[in-house]
Amino acid sequence: METFLQTTINGLASGSIYALGAIGLSLVYAILKLVNFAHGDFMTLGGYVAFVVNVSLGAPLVVAAAAAVAAIAVVGLITEAVIWRPMRNRGAGVMQLLLLSIGLAFVIRNLILFGWGGQEKRLDIDNTRTFDLGIVRISLIQVIVISIAAVVLVAVGVMLRSTYVGKSMRALSDSFDLAEVSGIDTRRVVTYTWVLGGGLAGLAGVLAGIFTTLRPDTGFLLLLGIFAAVILGGIGNPFGALVGGIALGLVQEWSTNWITPTYKEAIGFVVLILVLLFRPNGVLGHATRTG
């Protein structure tokens, strides 16, 4: 029971990072039909922005995190203006956009390598502090990661459910053409999508940096899990991405109760394959939603 609770806490923490990354990836895909392979590197870049503000400039971590969120939201908007919108206007399809995003991923990763080198970077946080709650121990960084993720994920969920912008994002993901025809200012909604998706990627990168250390491939290595989370939850469904991310983190950590931790990533993918065999549209997917 103790180890189960302990692995649950660990799983919630890593699942939170997957979930934050997955929601942004899922929203961008749902609305723009862009499978953004650079999403992981957006996260990494967010982590490094926080590193610069927090360590190089000596500002508090909260300020650094806010700067990372803002910076990656802007990066998202710039890529939209410079790459994605011009390419869509020229009739680029899902495959062309995907290949471009793979190229962009390499560019970002190598710029980071060029700028900060390959060695690990640490954010300025006490990663040894833990709280003993009797049956389980929870570290300061787990408290930070889980609580920030919980607040942000609930806020994003409420925003998508109840605000006009959130509803119009879901409308665009149902049908971009009908949204346009209904009089919705689709360009504005796309702008908000990048701000939200980029901002969440930046935050996920900071939390990943808090959780472990930062390296030029930190986000890229998380990307596989994030894709798994998106698929688990039903592609293009942001609520599903949230559930998929948390579920993946939990399953990976729970598996360490029986299997060596080395295999926990593989276990995540075994679950993914099993889910796809029985629920091809994901856990929260709808049978009627295709394409």
């Binding site: 149902d174 053409d177 009908l178 949204a179 025809v181 009089g183 919705i184 009627t288």
Partner: protein
């Protein structure tokens, strides 16, 4: 007619890609408060015509004027703000949104009057009110069409473009759609409607157009087109001219 028409499309030439003109000089006029019906064989360019009027198909030539304002090539959200709405033939509701959310999406340019308009739509379509918290994907064909029309009416448009609103519906639902069209028109909305149910539609029409090959073949009052032996022979399934 002494009043200036609300909608005038003249000499439209254009298509989905640069090399292929689907519209080859067609025209359409709608007077204030009229029902205008467009008929013609499959592939004639009827859907393309209303899409072009709504700024969804690039035009190489021609003009579209709404209430005297040139709207040629404007983005749909601007045209919508100027008082014209469009109901596509297919994919005309947001399936994963609730009925209420679908209506909200129609109010993008009229947020101030949204609640009031929503009540008006629920009064027009009581069945939508009962299901307002359900997702649109669960609606029957007829209910979907009601929702699509209601969404388009949310901004209180002066002109409503309908692309085959009765296509694929059960006979009872077809009748309901035509009743709705008349009801909406009676409240002062100018209607431009493409229809396969040509006889029933022309019977309601103040003006009718027969389109073929991206060009106007016949134009006239709805009743006159119904009585025209050539139109009857070619486009109304033959037989004696006149109303059923």
């Amino acid at each position: 007619m002494t009043d200036a028409p609300v909608l005038v499309a003249e000499d439209l030439v254009g298509g989905y890609v640069a090399e292929v003109d689907i519209l080859r000089g067609c025209a359409l006029t709608a007077g204030e408060g009229e029902i205008v019906v467009v008929i013609g064989p499959n592939g004639a360019g009827k859907s393309t015509l209303v899409k072009a009027i709504f700024g969804l198909v690039p035009l190489r030539q021609g003009t579209v004027t709404l209430h005297g304002t040139d709207v040629t090539g404007q983005r749909p959200n601007r045209i919508s703000a100027l008082g014209m709405s469009y109901v596509p033939q297919v994919n005309n509701v947001f399936p994963s949104l609730t009925i209420q959310e679908n209506l909200e999406m129609g109010a993008a340019n009229s947020r101030a009057t949204m609640d009031e308009r929503m009540d008006a739509m629920y009064a027009l379509f009581p069945r939508l009110r009962e299901r307002r918290r359900n997702r649109a994907e669960g609606l029957s064909g007829g209910e979907r069409q009601m929702l699509a029309v209601a969404r388009a009416l949310m901004p209180e448009p002066s002109v409503l473009l309908l692309d085959e609103p009765s296509a694929g519906l059960a006979p009872k639902a077809v009748g309901e759609v035509f009743e709705t069209v008349q009801q909406v028109n009676a409240s002062g909305v100018t209607i431009v409607m493409i229809e396969q149910n040509a006889r029933a539609a022309l019977a309601l029409a103040d003006r009718g157009y027969v389109l073929e090959g991206g060009q106007n073949r016949f134009t006239g009052k709805g009743a006159d087109l119904l009585d025209d032996p050539q139109v009857a022979e070619l486009y109304l399934g033959g037989g004696a001219a006149g109303r059923e």
